[in-house]
């Protein structure tokens, strides 16, 4: 499926999806509450078959926190980038996609570890790189550590 038809396909399910400028991938911003259903459809539907989650990352844009999903179909070869955003910095949470793509399990733990974004219904949400006693989330832009960080 080419990018226009893929956009149309997603818009029939989620009319609020916003197109974003991106040179490499078709990029859509999806409302967080509709993301999980859309992800199930993208994976299960015979038209799209997005069976491969090849990157899952967290981003701190200061104004909002964001999680970016890169999906690919190994049968059709088309790829897509999906973003979900939240402005809640105190208790950010999205629905997990680890029930859809197993790979998301460790990715989501990493994002939780470094950005403090929680994933609802995740089977094993705990820190993956830092130890359990670590305070704060070091990839946040507002993270301060006066002992260990030398500011430039």
């Amino acid at each position: 499926m080419d990018n226009e038809r893929l956009t149309e396909w997603i818009r029939t399910l989620v009319p609020e999806a916003q197109l974003e400028e991106n040179k490499q991938f078709l990029t859509l911003v999806i409302p967080a509450d509709k993301f999980h259903d859309l992800a199930v459809n993208l994976k299960e539907s015979e038209d799209t078959l997005m069976d491969y989650l090849f990157c899952l990352s967290g981003v701190d844009m200061i104004k909002h926190l964001m999680v970016v999903y890169h999906l690919n179909s190994t049968r059709y070869g088309h790829s897509i980038e999906l973003k979900v955003k939240t402005e809640d910095r105190e208790n950010p949470a999205f629905d997990t996609v680890s029930d859809i793509w197993q790979a998301a399990n460790f990715y989501e733990r990493e994002i939780f570890d470094l950005f403090g974004i929680r994933f609802n219904n995740h089977p094993d949400l705990r820190r993956i790189f830092l130890d359990e006693s670590w305070k704060g989330y070091p990839f946040r832009k507002d993270y301060v550590d006066e002992v260990n960080i030398v500011d430039l």
């Binding site: 070091p138 993270y143 550590d145 260990n148 960080i149 030398v150 500011d151 430039l152």
Partner: protein, 177 residues
């Protein structure tokens, strides 16, 4: 590099403690000659400096020519640990443990900017050890990011100079140097 330039810095040799016993010093010279020409490094590399270290060990640079011979996978068989790469806070206890497991006499080469000072990760990081000398004592520092294999060869040869100064009556290198 010419021998004249290599011996440019003579402070190292001036540290040698003159021993009155002729037999002992001659024996020392023979033993140190042997030891300095069979320095076995530990297989330990944490990032890109490790690739340069592999290049130095492979056929084009081949530092076996200088006696820094076989890579040992066990710290108990190694003489020198080349810290090639960034050491993060989580890795530091592992490095210390490896160093402790090596048998005396043991040497440390800090290779590259990360091992010397944290290098590019000095500022604005929460997880990098700023210099491996916070964890273990270092004998030779090799600057570069990463250093070329020639630089590693040079560093190893400086270490060999250092080994040649040791006496068997005083093997505690940190008191000597």
């Amino acid at each position: 590099m010419k021998d004249k330039d290599f011996r440019d810095n003579e402070t190292l040799e001036s540290f040698k403690i003159p021993d009155k016993n002729f037999l002992l010093t001659t024996l020392d010279d023979i033993i140190d000659w042997g030891r300095s020409n069979s320095v076995w490094p530990l297989t330990f590399a944490t990032s890109c400096c490790g690739i340069e270290m592999m290049a130095a060990g492979a056929s084009r640079y081949d530092f076996a020519r200088f006696g820094i011979e076989v890579y040992r996978a066990s710290p108990r068989q190694a003489d020198v640990i080349v810290v090639a790469g960034t050491i993060v806070n989580k890795m530091a206890p592992v490095l210390k443990r490896l160093y402790d497991q090596m048998s005396e006499p043991k040497y440390v080469i800090a290779m590259g900017a990360c091992a010397i000072s944290g290098g590019p990760f000095f500022y604005n990081t929460y997880h990098v050890v700023r210099g491996v000398d916070h964890v273990i004592p270092v004998d030779v520092y090799i600057p570069g990011c990463p250093p070329r294999p020639e630089a590693l060869l040079y560093g190893v040869m400086q270490l060999q100079r250092k080994i040649k100064l040791q006496s068997m009556t005083d093997m505690d290198k940190h008191e000597l140097l």
